[in-house]
């Protein structure tokens, strides 16, 4: 008990110190910041809906990027996930695959987008590639974990029939983990819709390009319109995706 109290005190001390060093107790700074926030909020309203039409086009581009990026990522993630699953590929191959996938995951989507903008120039192409490769890193990890969760006895019983490895994947591993595969695919798509909005900040296409321009030009009322539209679209996609997911998933 005594020990627990001591630990709590020490932990709180560390957290308070960290907060202090970041500037949480700098009252002057906080006051000035709050004032700025209020002014900024004031400037955001009323939204300027005159820019709705071009914004709708660019939001369509954002969804396009998210959809294509997710699909490309998915196509690459299935085989890579299989390579990464220890119960399917064995220790050696899976370790190598995991190392590569781990490397891919350490680079955030925004950085991938910057890399591809440098390589391919501005526009939705680098954004889509960035989302695709980011999706590969994450989906593959989620997938090899799903594949490894396939019950060992199922695999043993089926291997006893002398089935080939390719058919084992097609008739056992994939059907057994189909629920995970689909629900994580939808999750990835929702996630990519959100993050693709930001890719435009680095010139990789989509609505983010307008957002960053409005910020730089101090056109905050237009920014509000862009944010509201993004919010509406993300909500609609979330709802639709939840619906579709429920349709697909079988209970078992």
């Amino acid at each position: 008990m005594k020990n627990g109290l001591l630990h709590t005190v020490i932990l709180s001390g560390i957290i308070l110190y960290l907060a202090h060093s970041i500037g949480f107790f700098d009252l002057d700074k906080l006051a000035a910041g709050s004032k700025n926030l209020i002014t900024f909020t004031h400037d955001l309203f009323p939204p300027d809906f005159s820019v709705t039409e071009p914004l709708l086009y660019s939001i369509f581009e954002t969804i396009q990027m998210a959809l294509l990026g997710t699909v490309l990522g998915f196509i690459a993630a299935l085989p890579l996930g299989l390579l990464g699953a220890r119960n399917i590929s064995g220790i050696g191959i899976s370790a190598a695959a995991r190392l590569i996938l781990g490397g891919i995951r350490t680079i955030p989507a925004l950085l991938w987008a910057i890399i591809f903008v440098v390589a391919f120039g501005l526009g939705p192409l680098p954004g889509t590639l960035g989302l695709a490769i980011y999706s590969v890193g994450y989906l593959s990890k989620l997938y090899y974990e799903a594949f490894e969760a396939v019950y060992q006895e199922v695999i043993e019983a089926v291997r006893a029939t002398g089935i080939s490895r390719l058919k084992e994947i097609r008739f056992v591993v994939l059907p057994e983990s189909m629920n995970h595969i689909l629900s994580q695919l939808f999750f990835m798509f929702e996630y990519n819709v959100r993050s693709s909005a930001i890719l435009g900040f680095v010139g990789a296409g989509g609505i983010g390009f307008y957002m960053i321009s409005y910020i730089q030009l101090f056109q905050y009322q237009r920014l509000t319109t862009a944010v509201l539209l993004t919010l509406a679209v993300v909500l609609v996609i979330d709802l639709a995706s939840a619906r579709i997911r429920d349709r697909f998933l079988t209970t078992s």
Partner: protein
Amino acid sequence: MIQATGSQKSWDDMEEFAVELCSVWYSPNGDHHILKNIDLKIKRGTCLALIGPSGSGKTTLFKIITRFLKPCSGSVIVRGSCGSLEKNKVGYIPQQLGLVRSLTALENVLIGAHSRIGLAGTLLGVFPKKEVELAAKYLNMVGIGHKAAKKVYTLSGGERQRVAIARALMQQPEIILADEFVSNLDIITAREILAEPRSWR
């Protein structure tokens, strides 16, 4: 620890034993042995029930015979009628049955035939008509022909057990290893099924 010895015959008549374990020791972690010095010889064409209390190592022994586990020492020989045995000739029904729950009963039974069928059509889910008929026949034989098109996760425990049996039969195996064969069945069904192995042959 379990000790089991099948019906024994002369040593020179080796080919007659389908399964032959010689002083098999097994331990999952290196110190505590689950199987201690097991000698087991099972004659071809016989039916042998292995009985032991919970945790005595029956499942472990099955996995040694199917070679999913390697013994620490001792030899394991599984023979076909003509010398060495291909893997697909051993039908293995694990304790939890090992069915693919999101496939139908028929598709599960067809898994037993995959080693005979080529790759091309099958990957798309198209099977030779002959094999589909055979699978339906085995499902009828174990009494659940009417559930062929049902997904396994909608079936009851006893029905699943029958699907697993049909899958093993579909392999047209020389040896069937069934772990906790009747645990999911009511006593009357259990009797029926226990009487059946003879009719499968």
